[in-house]
């Protein structure tokens, strides 16, 4: 059972590190990029390497949809590579030379942190990393100085959004030094009620303290979200009907755009989370979410938009009817 998956889809820890004596990304040339990739490859010899200069743009975009790399990384023109091992993903030559991240399902920031530290320890003991006692890890952007760490969670907050309580929470979060964003950086409710919440500060406290503070705040949000959902559910058939209808359309539609999918997915997810829909589970829906995103869905094939929408409906049908 994944912890708190009804509200938290995934947890992520990211460290930014740079190798000493090389300029930062915007000043790197091709030779230096290759040297840096080689150095990291030596340390992470048992990781799976993907050379991004050798893959096509659609495959690169699929890595973005899987949250393995950032959108900026996928389109970078200089040599850049990804190293993966289980939940640990290391982007080399992103905004910083090394962007190490661990993503885990559900509310598991502490587990993600422990795993991230294992790989970080290997990097720190074998490579000369840019560091200074006062400023901490030296990063391309001064906002990441210090720990270079971002801890973030992807939250599903339909209850708070529908009851209008989210606005109040958003304004409090920034006062508490946290940042909230919509799923791909834009904060619109149409994007499936998915929000990313992360720490904004990287200096002054230990990583453990930052995470534990974030967890305390998140636990409260989780509680509020569940209360809001109960109220929505209790309000009767008018609120339950659209959730069940959404699931019905997902199961039987013959063509579907990704925008429509996200809208229906979020309604069905809420239905499953509050126990109105019991034909599928949350993890299945979340896996489905990634598998029908445009680049992942195309899987190397050249499809027109109409073909893609038909294939999307096909994939959804297959996945949901199997359950």
């Amino acid at each position: 059972m994944v912890k708190d998956i009804d509200v938290v889809l995934s947890s992520r820890i990211r460290f930014a590190r740079n190798i000493k004596d090389y300029p930062f990304a915007s000043k790197l040339d091709e030779t230096s990029c290759r040297e840096i990739i080689e150095k990291v490859e030596y340390v992470l010899s048992d990781f799976k390497k993907t050379d991004f200069t050798k893959i096509d743009p659609i495959s690169a975009q699929a890595f973005v949809e899987h949250h393995s790399v950032s959108p900026e990384f996928a389109v970078s023109t200089l040599p850049h590579a990804l190293f993966e091992k289980a939940d640990t993903k290391v982007m080399v030559c992103e905004e910083d030379h090394i962007r190490l991240q661990v993503i885990k399902k559900g509310f598991s920031l502490n587990e993600a942190f422990t795993e991230a530290c294992e790989t970080d320890d290997m990097i720190l003991s074998k490579l000369r990393v840019a560091y200074n006692e006062e400023l901490g890890f030296l990063t391309h952007c001064p906002t990441n100085l210090g720990s270079g760490m971002r801890a973030s969670v992807m939250m599903f907050l339909p209850g708070l959004a529908m009851t209008g309580e989210l606005k109040g929470i958003v304004s409090q979060l920034s006062k508490l030094g946290l940042t909230i964003r919509g799923i791909y950086g834009e904060g619109s409710e149409a994007q499936g009620y998915l929000y990313q919440i992360s720490n904004a500060e990287t200096m002054g406290t230990t990583e453990e303290a930052t995470i534990s503070r974030l967890c305390d705040i998140l636990k409260q949000i989780i509680g509020h979200e569940r209360n809001a959902r109960e109220r929505i559910k209790a309000a009767g058939i008018r609120n339950r009907d659209p959730l069940c209808r959404a699931f019905g359309v997902l199961k039987y539609a013959c063509t579907m755009t990704s925008r429509e999918f996200i809208e229906l997915y979020s309604k069905a997810r809420l239905g499953v989370a509050v126990g109105i829909i019991d034909e599928t589970d949350l993890e299945t829906l979340d896996e489905l979410f990634i598998s029908v995103m445009p680049a992942t869905l195309s899987a190397g094939e050249k499809l027109t938009e109409a073909e893609r929408d038909m294939k999307r409906a096909e994939v959804i049908k297959e996945k949901l009817r199997k359950e």
Partner: protein, 156 residues
């Protein structure tokens, strides 16, 4: 509509940014949009933070990456790790304002972390020593004092 950055050309790229619920809308001409680098830092928000800082020597360049302070200011990003020492005076006030004057207190590479650990340990022992003296536990205080002296000598 004119570009909201250069105020000269006709805007052709529109986008919305929502951070912490604060929505900003941008309308840029294609040239300014390209300069904004993929739109993920649409307008250089750091520029304003750097505004107060002025380079002491106009033509100072970083010894490793040859960045000038003007360049760092324009990009909102530092050229290399060395820039943080070369432009310490110029960058100092901005770093202080972003991080509210805090100092690093987290993980560190090997060597640094041992030194920090030793310092933290000494700090704890000193606290214990003060507590022992206040509680008039002089035997314990003497033990602690010797231990601190030994540790201080070990770490130079």
């Amino acid at each position: 509509m004119l570009c909201s950055k250069c105020h000269k050309n006709e805007a052709s790229v529109y986008f919305k940014q929502n951070i912490n619920g604060e929505v900003r809308e941008y309308a840029l001409c294609s040239q300014c949009a390209a300069e904004a680098e993929l739109g993920f830092t649409p307008l250089n928000l750091f520029g304003s933070m750097f505004a107060e800082a002025r380079p002491k020597t106009e033509h100072k360049r970083c010894t490793l990456c040859s960045s000038t302070f003007e360049e760092i200011k324009r990009k909102g990003k530092v050229g290399c790790a060395e820039c943080y020492s070369v432009f310490a005076d110029e960058l100092g006030p901005m770093i202080e304002s972003i991080h509210r004057g805090a100092k690093h207190n987290g993980r560190a590479p090997e060597g640094y972390s041992e030194k920090r650990k030793a310092e933290n340990e000494l700090e704890t022992l000193r606290k214990e020593l003060r507590a022992a003296i206040e509680a008039e536990e002089y035997e314990r205080a003497a033990e602690l004092r010797d231990l601190i002296k030994r540790k201080e000598a070990d770490h130079g």
